[in-house]
């Protein structure tokens, strides 16, 4: 319940965020007026692929060079992100707001040692000697439950497993101690067996350090169990916002459909209902006459 209190003075305040891509002479919107606040809590954003959920994360960091980003308000601890210059963004990215990407196979640089990549994240934002950064990195690797940090430091990304890669990613993004972490499908590329392990590590670190977390996922069940609050997105709009524990009371037919399509123990053994996508087709057509 203490998370609820923080919301009165949130870290991040987004109102009417719109992201669109140029398509010839017109702009095609992919995020159409999304609003939310984030305190020191865990916020889940769920939706199917193409619902615009990942775009939100990148828009917050202003890492969409080809897109047009508009909002009534996009404020991060008193900084107006919309008006922030690239220079200001450089000191925000990583240091104050960071993002964990989906697949460590692609998101780690293949030609640098993983330890150096983590240390680099620390040294961009902190004046530290190579030796100090190395020690910090080793401690961080330990914090993400890597047993032999000295050895792992010197490995290249292709030499580590997916689960370890994602823990390295977490270490890299947490080492400058940001206030907000955006996790974009952090476990969907991982083996089912290591998913919970990685999620628990992330959870532990986020809760201990009081970091605000935005968890972007297509997996409603995961988000529901892991987050405090859930936004359900569809076609670039938020269709439902609700506390995670209150999820079964959702009202929007889309969310209900998503919930019904989840298997659960003790349920009937008949085929799971399939999400009715009819309106989707219609709205797309309406959007582009």
């Amino acid at each position: 319940m203490e998370t609820q209190m923080d919301n009165r003075n949130p870290l991040l305040r987004v109102e009417g965020l719109r992201v669109s891509y140029r398509n010839g002479r017109t702009y095609t919107p992919v995020v159409k007026g999304v609003s939310f606040d984030l305190g020191r809590e865990r916020l889940g954003i769920v939706g199917e692929s193409g619902s615009g959920k990942s775009t939100i994360g990148r828009a917050l960091l202003k890492l969409l060079p080809t897109a047009r980003i508009e909002a009534e308000r996009m404020e991060f601890e008193g900084t107006d992100l919309l008006a922030a210059t690239e220079r200001q963004m450089l000191s925000i990215r990583g240091q104050r707001m960071s993002m964990i990407l989906q697949d460590p196979k692609f998101s780690l640089n293949p030609v640098h040692k993983v330890g150096d990549q983590i240390a680099e994240a620390y040294r961009v934002h902190n004046k530290a000697s190579a030796q100090a950064a190395r020690e910090r990195t080793l401690a961080m690797l330990e914090a993400v439950k890597i047993r032999d940090p000295e050895r792992v430091y010197g490995l290249y990304p292709h030499e580590v497993s997916g689960g370890m890669g994602q823990r390295i990613m977490i270490a890299m993004m947490l080492i400058p101690e940001p206030q907000i972490i955006i996790a974009d499908e952090p476990t969907s590329a991982l083996d089912v067996t290591v998913r919970m392990q990685v999620l628990n590590i992330l959870n532990e670190l986020v809760t201990n350090k009081g970091i605000g977390l935005i968890m972007i996922s297509h997996d409603l069940n995961l988000v529901r169990n892991f987050c405090d609050r859930v936004l359900v997105m569809r076609h670039g709009e938020v269709v439902e916002e609700r506390a995670a524990r209150d999820m079964q009371n959702c009202v929007h037919p889309y969310t209900r459909g998503l919930l019904a399509a989840q298997p659960h123990i003790g349920g009937s053994r008949r085929p799971l209902p399939v999400l009715n996508r009819e309106p989707l087709v219609r709205t797309t057509r309406e959007a582009q006459p």
Partner: protein, 338 residues
């Protein structure tokens, strides 16, 4: 693991061997196809029938083709590349004598080509679809499309005849020829060894134009490849990671994306260096540059069979060697293949 590596090595060695044998067959065929009678070329037009038969016997010209081929290969294996009909010297000596001039030219050219091409390619990729990209693309297309011998002549007309900024044809002005002893064959090095700065600057002056033109054509290729490699990398997820960490664009480009194309670049620069041989054939003719390219053309024009066969073989071997070298570099420098 070790076994797999060994068999991979074995397979590669087999491939090289087959390619080399193919190369030998090819050069042999070219030699046989030539309209020159090798015996007549040695004995001369006036020789009588008996001498002709004797020489034919000695060089094996009347053996069946496959035996001639084996003789050709075994001669090569003994280091005997034959004697040039045109110069009367062993072909290999001739080639060793002309090679430094071409290497000097090609090295200077590749420095120009890679030194300009790589930064331009990166700039074009980073500013993709912006005016700079279009300008660079246009420059490389021109470099790709121009007949290099023509550019050489236009260069001579403008920079030598009209503006008198550079030396004309040849490696040195007439009055400097023979002033420094030929130690290495590389004029720049020889003149420095002799401590003769006048000769050195004259050599640079003569090298500048042909090497720049040759370099421009390889720049076109290097820029193009760099741009496409770089675009590939800039779309990779790890570039986003670097930006998320708070790295500046330039650090992301150089420390992260560029680090990933270094090996590929070494490969294409090596291949471009080999391709300069092709340009050298034409540019050396235009600039009267006494190098390998001119040696090839002169021999082809007069149908000097041994020399042509050896030159073609050498070019093939250089290319196979460069391919192997770039493969090896990949294995050494890319952590994923170590």
């Amino acid at each position: 693991m070790n076994n797999a590596r060994f068999s991979a090595f074995g397979r590669q060695a087999g491939t090289i061997l087959v390619t080399l044998i193919g190369l030998l067959i090819l050069t042999f065929c070219i030699g046989r196809l030539m309209p020159v009678d090798p015996v007549r070329a040695i004995v001369g037009e006036e020789a009588d029938r008996a001498t002709y038969e004797m020489v034919a016997e000695r060089i094996g010209a009347n053996l069946p083709l496959y035996q001639q081929f084996f003789k050709y290969v075994s001669d090569l294996l003994h280091g005997d590349f034959g004697v040039s009909i045109r110069t009367g010297q062993p072909v290999i000596n001739d080639i060793l004598h002309v090679m430094p001039a071409t290497i000097e030219l090609a090295t200077f050219a590749i420095i120009v080509g890679a030194g300009l091409g790589i930064p331009l390619g990166i700039l074009a990729a980073v500013r993709r679809n912006k005016p700079v990209d279009h300008v660079i693309r246009f420059l490389t297309l021109i470099g790709h499309s121009m007949p290099i011998f023509w550019t050489g002549m236009i260069g001579l007309i403008v920079f030598y005849a009209a503006l008198d900024l550079v030396g004309g044809g040849g490696r040195l002005s007439d009055y400097y020829i023979g002033l420094v002893p030929e130690t290495t064959g590389f004029l720049l090095i020889d003149s420095l060894l002799a401590g003769d700065w006048d000769v050195f600057w004259d050599a640079v002056n003569h090298l500048l134009l042909p090497a720049s033109i040759l370099g421009y054509s390889s720049m076109a290729y290097i820029t193009r490849m760099t741009r496409s490699f770089m675009l590939d990398q800039l779309n990779q997820e790890y570039v986003t990671t670097a930006r998320v960490k708070g790295l500046s664009k330039s650090r992301t480009i150089w420390h992260h994306a560029f680090a990933n194309i270094r090996v590929q670049l070494v490969t294409i620069v090596a291949l471009a260096y080999g391709s300069l041989l092709e340009g050298a054939v034409l540019i050396e003719t235009v600039f009267s540059w006494p190098g390998f390219g001119q040696y090839i053309t002169n021999n082809m024009l007069v149908g000097d069979m041994n020399a042509v066969m050896t030159c073609v073989l050498l070019v093939g071997v250089i290319f196979i060697g460069l391919n192997l070298l770039s493969d090896a570099l990949y294995k050494i420098f890319d952590p994923r293949t170590r």
